[in-house]
Symmetry: C2
Subunit: 210 residues, 2 copies
């Protein structure tokens, strides 16, 4: 096995593979490059950042469905899957949401948005009902990661538990009583390159005991 | 470079890479295939499932740190990062947690577990404090996906908001008052192959309006 003149970068955790394939030209020193790069899930987790401005390029319904499918793959307490999704790509609705919600202003400039909602009728009864918050948060993180994986950008803009925001969203989208909007995730093509924030803090890791 | 007929399996992060590079045969026009398979984040999202039984093989502290680092890459409301982690690989502590918590019984058979906690002192004040639940849920989903990406298995076993479970976990791990355990995620090498649950339900997707 000869790897002469070839560089193979194997970055575990960042499995970036640059393959310099060979062939007749390689023997003449004209390197032919076949570059392939598939990001691992862990790389995408670290690459994700909150993207708040977008180009005019639309996001397709196929892409939006990929995102919602990723959301629905989340785990849920006692497998209740207590979630619903409103996917908005209508400009007027996007504008209305962004205009009425200062914390979601960037939705006005996005080609689409996903509103992740808890469904209290699908949720378990009694004190278990509140697990919809944890479940739908896991859903939301899946969506954010899928957005990053598709090369798109998005940001989790919070709705629940702010009563006024919940009312505004419910009003604009016509949500029934038992549907609680957790957040609005605008989705679009990033207007600029993003630098993920470094949040690693070893002081927050406690081995075996506090 | 001659890799003809050679299979190189690189399984860092479960990235299966099949490399068939070229050699003299390429110059004879026999097309050589360069096949690479690294799972995308979206694939890992769909592959993840709740793994409740594990082999005796240990999980290294390096792997556990990769998981916690992935957790800390999650977004948080107003960037408070209100989280702390207790990482347990001590057999006695794992046994105590699993023995006292029927819903986390499988922790007894795991080589390690991560307890994702909210830190109420790091969280924002007033009504914003409760965002630690959403933030730490996003953290937990990152950890579950990173577990899957490493070829390991785990499951989100709930602690908060069950008061009795919170007390038991706090007692065993010596958590101070302001540290609230959200869940226990046992981690290990899967004892059997898992089939992810199909949860896609197009009836839960509402376009532009409910």
């Amino acid at each position: 096995m000869k790897l002469t003149g070839t560089l193979i970068y194997l970055l575990p955790l960042s499995a970036i593979l640059t393959l310099t394939a060979c062939g007749p030209s390689a023997s003449r020193g004209e390197t032919q490059e076949t570059e392939m790069k598939t990001k691992t899930a862990i790389e995408v987790i670290h690459e994700r950042s909150s993207i708040r401005s977008y180009t005019d390029e639309p996001v397709t319904r196929e892409q939006l469905e990929i995102l919602v499918r990723a959301g629905m793959a989340a785990p849920s307490a006692t497998n209740k899957q207590p979630w619903q999704f409103v996917v908005v790509d209508d400009k007027e609705t996007l504008h209305a949401l962004g205009a009425d919600l200062p914390t979601s202003r960037m939705v006005q400039g996005a080609p689409a948005a996903i509103i992740v909602c808890g469904d209290l009728e699908l949720a378990a009864d009694g004190w278990l009902q509140q697990y919809w918050i944890q479940d739908c948060s896991a859903v939301s993180q899946n969506i954010l990661l899928a957005i990053t994986d598709l090369g798109l950008g998005g940001v989790w803009t919070s709705v629940y538990p702010a009563e006024n925001r919940m009312e505004i969203v419910s009003g604009i989208l016509g949500l029934p009583e038992h549907i609680v909007p957790l957040n609005i995730i605008p989705v679009g093509h990033p207007a600029a390159e993003a630098t993920p924030m470094e949040k690693w803090d070893p002081a927050k890791v406690h081995w075996n005991q506090w």
